[in-house]
Amino acid sequence: MKTTNKKRLTGVDIAGVAAIAAVLSLMQAPALAQTPAAHKLADGKPDFNGIWEALNTASWDIQDHTGQLGIPPGQGVVEGNEIPYLPAALAKKKENFANRKTADLTEANCFLPGVPRITYMPYPFQITQSAKAIAFSYEFAHALRVIHMEGQHPDPNSSLDTWLGDSRGRWEGDTLVVDSRNFNDQTWFDKAGNFHSDALHVVERYSLADAGHINYDVTIEDPKVFAKAWKMSMPLYRRMEKNAKLLEYECVFYLQEKRYKDAPFTKK
């Protein structure tokens, strides 16, 4: 539109603008019903409460992969598919892949799987959101992350390291941003050997696409392993079943029942 036209606005033009505005607002009405406005808590924050689950094959391999016996095929969740490994780290990843049956501590020993792997394992998780704390509770190994909305990460140079990180949350508009550090170097991103060091820094972004979907975006930084930051992205699906509930997948217990079934072991 030419600027000269603006100078010639007539009453009719103004009425037309008003009509357009009215139409626009009508068009927005159904859109509003889908946006967080209808799905917000009393404190104005989007309502993430409920049971969620990823629906992809990232747990097996976060990158593109073909199906194999016991491995469902899948398109990757890594933005651009390629992970910017440093040369030595790429060799390590290949070694991990070769040794994955025993070297993946989650698969072999039921150890806590780290972040974000815990999110996209094929088990549901629960978000409980109050003004005071946000808890992410996972069916796998009854893992729990409490997202602290206040405070700072422990000193990164301290000896403190954790399996699921120290997680600090903040709101950027309607997006819950969870910043996690203080990881150990024991967990992988998947069963395919993609890994990180104790310098891992994970930033997760949770935003409601609609009442039933979360857009989940993750930024991975780890200067010891990657040449630059990289991203994963996937939808998370609300479990819509009536009375959806986290049950218990007691991986450690089941493994003990298998390994120590015949204990005490008779010495030969």
Binding site: L41, A42, D43, N49, L105, N109, C110, F111, L112, Q126, T128, Q129, S130, K132, A133, A135, S137, A141, H142, A143, L144, V146, H148, G151, T162, W163, L164, Q186, K242, N243, K245, L246, L247, E248, E250, V252, F253, Q256, E257, R259, Y260, K261, D262, A263, P264, F265
Partner: protein
């Protein structure tokens, strides 16, 4: 025993937000008769905050005290009492004729049940609380004789463990059930649910207040399936669907999958919640019994990560390395 969940009495809740009446409620939740001792005008009445869906707001950090038979709050406050007989306070479950010690370490410490990391806030309730076994009043559990014998045999085979089954839950890093943990707990509340987070074993216990039925009977859980409702300031929680792997104390090393509990969390004041559990396990006992304790609020506290299986060598130490897989 099961109660139909009822809606929170929101009308009553609104009244309570302006006048603190909870302290006038006896633990049974019934309205008091005219109570002369009530601190009406003299004591400032703390308002009981409400969550957006009208529940009494009990969010925060807690430690749980004394459901294992301890005599009084004084003992709790004084903590472990050195090297005294760890069974002394455990009168309702002791094994007087046990010729062989079955325990390791201090049973008293165990009974204290942790709570480490929690700095208690405010005084305990003024009036004496009821701790430990409160029903039956003779403090003798109504064991079925044959089940009591099985239990004693079981305990005799726990040191050293005769099998994996005889290994205590904490050596296995497994979920502890409802009883074997003193905290720190963090209570958070969302619409139609109360969620209890535990630092110990990093578990989550969700109490559903939305009127749903219990799970189907083929689903078995360490923590059971909990549905609840509020009656004034008492949260009543009905839990079923337990497996047979959770203990009450070291001397009650397992309960059965017939276990059915009814817990009553009665808000006494801002910092204290009376706690009472009815334990109904018809496979093991001739009748239900009841134990009581207290949840006490702690200062804000960030629960640490409690990785257990990731570092535990307990089973290897007990049994040696399992044959290679």
């Amino acid at each position: 025993m099961s109660r139909k969940p009822s809606r929170t009495n929101i009308t009553f809740g609104v009244i309570l937000t302006t006048a603190w009446l909870g302290s006038l409620m006896p633990a049974n939740g019934q309205a008091p008769a005219a109570d002369k001792s009530a601190p009406k005008a003299t004591t400032p009445a703390p308002a009981l905050a409400r969550t957006p869906d009208g529940q009494p707001d009990i969010q925060g950090i807690y430690a749980r005290r004394g459901i294992w038979g301890l005599a009084d709050d004084e003992r709790e406050a004084n903590g472990p009492r050195g090297k005294e007989d760890p069974l002394e306070d455990d009168e309702y479950s002791e094994l007087p004729d046990n010729p062989k010690p079955w325990f390791q370490g201090s049973g008293k410490n165990f009974a204290q049940g942790g709570g480490g990391g929690v700095t208690l806030v405010g005084p305990a309730p003024a009036e004496p609380r009821r701790f430990g076994l409160v029903d039956p009043s003779d403090k003798i559990l109504p064991w079925k004789p044959e089940e009591d014998k099985k239990r004693r045999d079981f305990l005799m085979n726990t040191n050293p463990p005769a099998s994996l089954r005889n290994v205590e839950y904490d050596a296995r890093c497994s979920l502890p059930g409802l009883f074997l943990n003193g905290g720190p707990f963090e209570f958070i509340q969302a619409a139609k649910e109360v969620v209890i987070l535990s630092e110990y074993q990093h578990y989550t216990r969700t109490i559903h207040l939305d009127g749903r039925p219990h799970l189907g009977s083929n689903i078995r859980l360490f923590m059971g399936d909990s549905i609840g409702h509020w009656e004034r300031n008492t949260l009543i929680v009905d839990t079923t669907n337990f497996n047979e792997f959770t203990a009450f104390t070291r001397t009650i090393p397992y309960l059965s999958d017939a276990l059915h509990t009814i817990e009553r969390f009665t808000v006494v004041d801002r910092n204290n919640i009376d706690y009472e559990v009815t334990v109904d396990d018809p496979k093991l006992f001739t009748k239900p019994w009841k134990t009581a304790g207290l949840y006490r609020r702690g200062k804000d506290y960030e629960m640490a990560e409690f990785a257990c299986a990731e570092g535990s060598q307990e089973l290897v130490n007990i049994f040696g390395q399992p044959p290679s897989r």
